[in-house]
């Protein structure tokens, strides 16, 4: 039992640093580049992804024994698209302000390869409970990554954090940071930083 708990915890923890998306596990770079020009955008996308990832992992690991391997991708894509569309409709019907703020992100989750990636790499080979832990870890790790990118880009691009001005009038905003080019710079910088820390720790 104790061993079982440790391995469950490991499934959760690996998404937070060891395999943190998108820096270590290079999946989901698309939304990480596209919607992280402010903290709130990054976190909204992260949380929406977490929700869809969790539901997709649960369903896919539950039906994993009945899916023929040749058509599994098709089956997974249909399930993920269903979850995303239902989320989108639900938000538009019940929480119009949130739906307006998230606008184009929700449909973007369908093409977020983290979800298909975790379905392929984890949920289709593991029971439901480890799949839940995997989804939570990966989802939270992804949200943290997007938060960090949003923080750096918003601070340098607008001089603010969460729309609150932090840097005074002397600061000339780096417009490039909120444009796509800035996303690549921050992404590259963070991948390098994460790799550097990992290598230093392992002493190589």
């Amino acid at each position: 039992m104790a061993e079982n708990n440790t391995s469950l915890f490991h499934e959760f923890k690996k998404g937070l640093w060891q395999d943190i998306p998108p820096f270590r596990l290079v999946l989901g770079t698309c939304p990480a580049l596209a919607v992280t020009n402010s903290v709130i955008n990054g976190v909204s996308m992260g949380l929406a992804t977490l929700f869809v990832l969790l539901s997709a992992n649960i369903i896919i690991s539950a039906i994993r024994k009945y899916v023929t391997s040749q058509v599994r991708i098709g089956v997974y894509v249909v399930i993920i698209a269903l979850l995303v569309t239902v989320t989108d409709l639900f938000l538009a019907a019940e929480f119009p302000p949130i739906s307006k703020a998230l606008g184009p992100y929700v449909p973007l989750i369908i093409v977020n390869c983290i979800i298909l990636g975790r379905a392929e790499a984890f949920a289709q080979r593991n029971p439901v409970v480890p799949s839940i832990m995997d989804a939570l870890g990966m989802g939270i790790g992804f949200t943290m990554s997007l938060f960090t990118m949003g923080l750096i880009r918003e601070l340098l691009g607008f001089g603010s954090i969460l729309k609150v001005k932090i840097l005074g009038g002397w600061f000339e905003p780096w417009i490039v940071m909120i444009l796509p080019a800035g996303a690549f710079m921050v992404f590259g910088g963070l991948v390098a930083l994460v790799n550097y820390i990992t290598h230093r720790r392992s002493g190589t």
Partner: protein
């Protein structure tokens, strides 16, 4: 059961199940979504015509297009301005603007962004108050214009958002086009009378209290 049959069954079951769930959710959500849109439209009319307490809808066909305007009315049922929706392409999709215009068709009373799919953090800043506020009192004739990096100099100019010129331009262009259409469909001076005729005969001011 051979593999091919299994593959077919897999896809058929998943497809049918997803389709059914989606149809059911859509059936539940659609009326709510429509109601939300309706509510948002109403609220935006009162936002772009701040003096209005009530409004009347008027429609007119023009070159195969149905032009809809909302005539804003104050407490005494006097027209205070006209509101209409301006749609058109933006950077990534439709940009729908609710426009509030004075009765002389000369200057704007306010604008509100209803629909947009612009880039988050850049183009979608057209929804921010600072951008919308600057339209107040700006003249739409001969044309509304935008200017970059500087404060507007002429009475018909607004300042575009840095890094989001295309989205800012879309708002300006859509307003210009819509003003033109409304002007053609409801010539100046006619605007305050047409909707009144279209509505039921007006009661005298003393009796209005009993209405609705």
């Amino acid at each position: 059961m051979n593999n091919v049959t299994k593959m077919f069954l897999n896809l058929i079951i998943v497809g049918a199940f997803s389709g059914a769930v989606l149809a059911w959710v859509f059936h539940l959500a659609d009326p709510l979504i429509q109601a939300n849109r309706e509510k948002e439209l109403k609220e935006s009319i009162f936002k772009v015509l701040p003096e209005a307490k009530d409004y009347r809808k008027a429609e007119k066909g023009l070159a195969g297009e149905n032009i809809v305007v909302y005539l804003g009315l104050d407490e005494d049922k006097k027209p205070v301005g006209v509101a209409f929706k301006a749609d058109g392409g933006g950077f990534q999709g439709n940009v729908g603007v609710m426009v509030g215009l004075d009765l002389e068709y000369q200057s704007l009373k306010g604008v509100e962004i209803l629909d947009q799919l612009e880039t988050p953090g850049l183009g979608d800043r057209i929804r921010e108050t600072e951008f919308k506020e600057q339209f107040k009192g700006v003249e739409v004739r001969p044309r509304l214009e935008y200017i970059k990096y500087r404060k507007p100099e002429k009475p018909n100019q607004i300042q575009a958002i840095t890094g989001a010129t295309i989205s800012s331009k879309a708002v300006v262009t859509n307003i210009n086009k819509a003003v033109e259409k409304v002007l053609a469909a409801f010539p100046q001076g006619e605007i305050s009378t047409i909707p009144a005729e279209a509505a039921a005969p007006e009661a005298s001011p003393h009796e209005t209290g009993g209405d609705r």
